[in-house]
Symmetry: C2
Subunit: 249 residues, 2 copies
């Protein structure tokens, strides 16, 4: 009997690279085939959903199932392609587990791009971009997104600021100085493209803070007086941004 493949969290969704469209055939990756055939025990005729970040979401049917590989065929489009709000997260790298977590949560919270930035006090200087991407893809599959955030290679803070795109505001979560409350800072600022910047454990150093505050596109904001871990600050700022300027309103 054929069925819709479901997990406790909802129906099975996979991100693929292939073009999707009516009758299009998709060969999932080895890992995806293993998951479908051996974890989900999928059989020919079972259905799931696919997206690739370009063609919306498609219901697909498993049409050929071997021992290690399978073929899926697109049937109908179940959601159009659409983008999340134009929000980037620029963050100083953190340890492996919090970084996994941050990539997942930021994807759920609807960021379009993840940009690691290296600062003076950044202790973790190696960034596993492929691992961040894998976390973002998995989270996009589970969050019902039809897009996956782009994950960029790390850049130094001065380079980031020098190359900053015209018209994009940068919300600077400044734990060290007097800054307007985040809700007020966002209420008073214009709509359009934004990014959120969070520092390393230990924060930005005074020279970095001065450089940031001198930029016309930087909007400083405060997340209160309690000490937040770097990943907590990033998620909190993303949630407040979505609630004020994003698609939660």
């Amino acid at each position: 009997m054929s069925a819709e493949l479901t997990e406790p969290g909802g129906g099975v969704r996979l991100h693929v690279e292939a073009t999707l469209g009516e009758g299009a055939r998709v060969v999932p990756s080895d890992g995806q085939a293993h998951y479908l055939l051996h974890v989900m025990r999928a059989k020919a005729g079972d259905r799931l959903r696919l997206f690739n970040g370009r063609d919306g979401e498609w219901r697909a049917r498993l049409v050929e199932a071997g021992k290690r590989a399978c073929v899926l065929e697109c049937e109908i489009q179940t959601a159009p392609q659409r983008e999340v709000p134009d929000l980037w997260l620029v963050f100083a790298p953190i340890k492996k587990t919090p970084a996994d977590f941050l990539a997942q949560k930021a994807t759920e919270l609807g960021v379009r791009l993840l940009q690691p930035v290296l600062t003076h006090r950044t202790i973790v200087r190696r960034v596993n971009v492929e691992r961040l991407r894998a976390n973002a893809i998995e989270a996009a599959e589970q969050a019902g997104r039809v897009s996956v955030p782009e994950v960029r290679e790390p850049v130094d803070l001065p380079r980031l600021l020098a190359d900053w795109p015209n018209g994009r505001r940068l919300l600077f979560c400044d734990e060290a100085g007097a800054a307007p409350a985040i809700a007020d800072a966002l209420d008073e600022a214009p709509a359009g493209p934004w990014a959120i910047l969070t520092g390393p454990e230990g924060g930005f150093d005074p020279a970095e803070r001065a450089a940031l505050r001198a930029k016309p596109f930087v909007v400083p904001a405060s997340l209160g007086q309690r000490i937040l871990r770097a990943d907590t600050a990033a998620l909190a700022a993303l949630a407040v941004w979505q609630s004020v300027k994003g698609d939660w309103r």
Copy 2:
């Protein structure tokens, strides 16, 4: 040479049960003594900070150091006792790792009380309250809080609603129905004591949703159209609440 004990994230702070005051002597727990003597390699004369949720924060000096135990003596108060905003988090239990994480992050984000609630679709029905408390204490130490959130034993949703305290509003993060955007729901609602309610993976069932919406103290709110994991929804709602109604403003 005596020194202030510091970790990468800042100075060492410990939560203790003992009364704190000038000259008060405190014997830390076995685990804390091990941490001080063998992880931090503290010596007599080294300083750290203590809090107990009642007497503010005190700088203390290690005055006796043995192999397995030590004695600390309070010197001066470094912060007065103060409370976080009157915000509770009422949440359906989740798996161990997300639950640890939720207790930590909710503590950083300044909740006063953590209340597990059992719902029809709650899959995880065993709640390790002691483990949640341990996570909350560790997070309070690192967040610079002088209070630790109370962690209550789980209750069923009907019991929770029947015993709900007068005057406290309950922000119901409703993923299934039409509800005002969270920022608008909070903007229009009064200040005072609040709680945030988040459901299990799979959400509340229709009867629960109807029961919640029938209560005059319930304020329904939406966190957008993407599917958020239970822990993400809780953290997002806490952050938005602090930004609008809490002490981030």
